[in-house]
Symmetry: C2
Subunit: 461 residues, 2 copies
């Protein structure tokens, strides 16, 4: 059998791999993409898309009280979970077809199977060898099993398992450090599940600004989500009435009885890729890359979840990396901007954060100014009763450089795009302060927060 040669082979058909393959093809490369499971990766099949869809449904439920305040009184809502899952599975099928179409349009060869590097310039897929000039690894992450006694019980599940349940559990314990648990907590609570959210940290959303975290916590508690901090699962035992969880937390030791324990912990997928054949480490937590997405192996790039710890496992980081890797693989010089990766949650209100918190910035030696504008005094925020929402701007006093933007509010995930552009274009807090955002919008508070940082807010009380 003749060995096929490609300019670029991409290993993994998730958001990073697809973007990389398309971009390499656009630049004239002969491109092959290896995928052993379904196209679209974790994000499309089991992550952002299904859970984004579920969060939008949960947001519709969460919007009903505002409607009622406005005189739109809904007498009864039937929540058909199976219809929700059916719609999202249909959407995912459709999107997968879209990915296939995109790859076909760009003349990318889809190689089905599990790829394993076989030394420099070679990769094997189910016994067949393919040759490449450049390789882009986009293999994503995999689940880690928790290590508490009882972790093997069928009651201990991850989000993949949750998606497969035909009916939602009556009572769950959500446990771990992933912010994603907060989304799932709000969703399940609104769909009638009794929810206990437990984190190992001192607070939920411990990596984000204290202000954002405490305001979101207030919303969740107000909705009936129970929260435990500094928590550990000591052991889980199966009994007739459910899973008995010995839980220690700041509140002390207790035993809670639940139907399911949802635990989310992921890490870069490094095993069985043949990394050692090109002298890459497969023991490390992830594949290290520089800002051109180059690994230490010549001609081998890596993008997405395989290149970092879970705090950076975002689809947009993967797709941006894919484009950068492809351009470098095809002889251009492109660089990843490490500052513009937004961290978002589709809770209601949404969380969208970018860059440094005030505390982090101080820790890095900046002379920091912080401005905050709550949506409770923003005209549009008042219209939509966005009472806990806020936008914070963190900047360096010397040159006015914007170091971080932190948003809690409706459509924060779209609004943070303003911060992405401002930081990408190296805008200053003075420029933000002068932005003429339309009225009435939450975005106006972004400019007001910048003015507050500069000591001249116009509207803040």
């Amino acid at each position: 059998m003749t060995e096929e040669t490609y300019d670029v082979i991409v290993l993994g058909g998730g958001p990073g791999g697809v973007a990389a393959a398309v971009r390499a093809s656009q630049l004239g490369g002969r491109v092959g993409l290896i995928e052993g499971e379904t196209l679209g990766g974790f994000c499309m099949n089991r992550g952002c898309i299904p859970f984004g869809h579920m969060m939008i449904a949960s947001n519709i439920l969460g919007g009903l009280p505002l409607g009622k305040e406005m005189g739109l009184d809904v007498k009864e809502v039937l929540k058909d979970y199976s219809a929700l899952i059916k719609r999202q599975n249909g959407l995912i099928d459709f999107m997968r077809m879209g990915v296939s179409g995109t790859l076909a349009k760009n003349k990318i060869k889809i190689i089905k199977g599990k790829g394993r590097i076989a030394g420099s310039g070679k990769i094997e897929v189910d016994g067949q060898t393919f040759l490449f000039r450049k390789l882009i690894l986009a293999t994503g992450a995999k689940w880690l099993k928790p290590d508490f006694p009882g972790a093997d019980l069928e009651e201990v599940i991850n989000s993949d398992d949750l998606l497969r349940l035909e009916a939602l559990p009556k009572k769950v314990l959500l446990f771990g450090e992933s912010p994603w648990l907060i989304e799932i907590a709000q969703f399940l609570n609104r769909y009638g599940t009794q929810v206990l959210l437990a984190t190992k940290d001192k607070r939920i959303l411990s990596m984000e600004s204290q202000t954002i975290a405490s305001r979101l916590r207030k919303v969740l508690k107000g909705e009936g989500v129970e929260i435990k901090t500094q928590a550990e699962i000591v052991a889980v035992m199966k009994k007739e009435d459910g899973a008995h969880v010995d839980l220690s937390s700041k509140d002390g030791a207790e035993t809670v009885v639940v139907d399911r324990i949802i635990h989310l912990e992921r890490a870069a997928a490094l095993k069985d890729l043949g990394l050692k054949t090109v002298h890459l480490d497969e023991e490390g937590p992830y594949i290290q890359v520089n800002d051109r997405m180059e690994t230490r192996a010549d001609g081998v790039y890596a993008v997405g979840d395989v290149t970092g710890d879970p705090s950076g496992h975002y689809s947009h980081r993967a797709s941006e990396g894919g484009i950068i890797a492809a351009e470098n693989a095809m002889g251009k010089k492109a660089f990843m901007n490490p500052k513009t990766m937004a961290r978002i949650l589709f809770t209601q209100p949404q969380v969208a954060c970018l860059g440094l918190t005030g505390k982090e910035a101080k820790g890095q030696g900046y002379d920091v100014m912080v401005g905050a504008a709550p949506f409770s005094v923003n005209p549009f925020g008042m219209i939509i009763a966005e009472n806990e929402g806020i936008v914070e701007v963190v900047a360096d006093k010397r040159f006015g450089e914007i170091l971080g933007v932190h948003i809690l509010g409706r459509n924060a995930s779209e609004m943070v795009g303003q911060a992405v552009l401002a930081m990408q274009m190296e805008g200053t807090v003075e420029e933000l302060a002068r932005a003429s955002f339309p009225h009435p919008t939450l975005s106006e508070s972004f400019a007001e927060a910048a003015r507050e940082a500069l000591g001249r807010p116009i509207y803040l009380p």
Copy 2:
């Protein structure tokens, strides 16, 4: 009586006047603000805020079909219009108190009454004279009466009158050129009014891109709004069964019977201001200002609706102008950016446009590239069924300058803030193409539209 002297007197307590007064005070000025009616101006009392509020209620109704697709079946919705009006009147009262508080905090003297300039450096309010070093005119706009026979009938109303109605009409004709009519049409239709929307132009939203206009038209027609173009009201006659309107349009002549005719036409409020005493023209359509908000009269500035035709009657233009005028009045050098005024509609999907359409840009001699990305192939757009939404980017081929951005979609009013910043910071279409917007969001299509303009879309089919 001693005449009080101010560094800056602001005439008009709407968004432009308030921003001007606060900024002038921040810069150390002794500031007086003259207002004859209620603080907050047209926007807060009768414009953006009440109608924004009504549109959000209408958006909640418009979101129910998506909920149903997702398995959230609402059996019945009671629409209590009086509760809606009561909530928004309460909000407006609260916001007015906020404005009072802001003015008090900034030590701005509120002078109640109607102000009239009395020559250089002097203004009279109810017989009392106040002296100023600088004057900022922020008097807004006033209603124009239509001139067709029957225009004086009580059935012919404007939006102020609509707000005063205790119950919504059963059948209305909305007539005029204001895009605002489109918002009101959608609102009334969703609240059960039979709506006929008639425009003098060849299409609705004639000032915006053909793509945006035709897609919005499709949505409105699908919801049951009847649309007439190239329309004129020949005459209105009151009869027992309602107002009989002789209407000519592209479809020919016809008589329609309605409860109300809503006509919106506004123009700068120039009369009785004493403009002539400082040699300013009170006959022209509006007060002409330069980019420092200076009128032709020394020390007299003007901002907001009084400075332009209705296409620029936006609150954010007024407040930006207010800040610029105040800074210049207080001895700084500040300039208005004419390119970053977003034109928005709170319809569902929302409209948010900035800068030039492709056609306008060609007309101005640019070598134009246009990229468009429909939300029907955007992952988040698919989740929320944003089937008619789209984002268009218009840019100059030579330097990649972004000339216009046109959005139809959920939260376009927030998303357009990205375009505001990009154009304010003189970003290029290449920079937009590389923006790492979070996934899954509609904002991703903004980058994709930029890539399409550059001939290298990643995901578009």
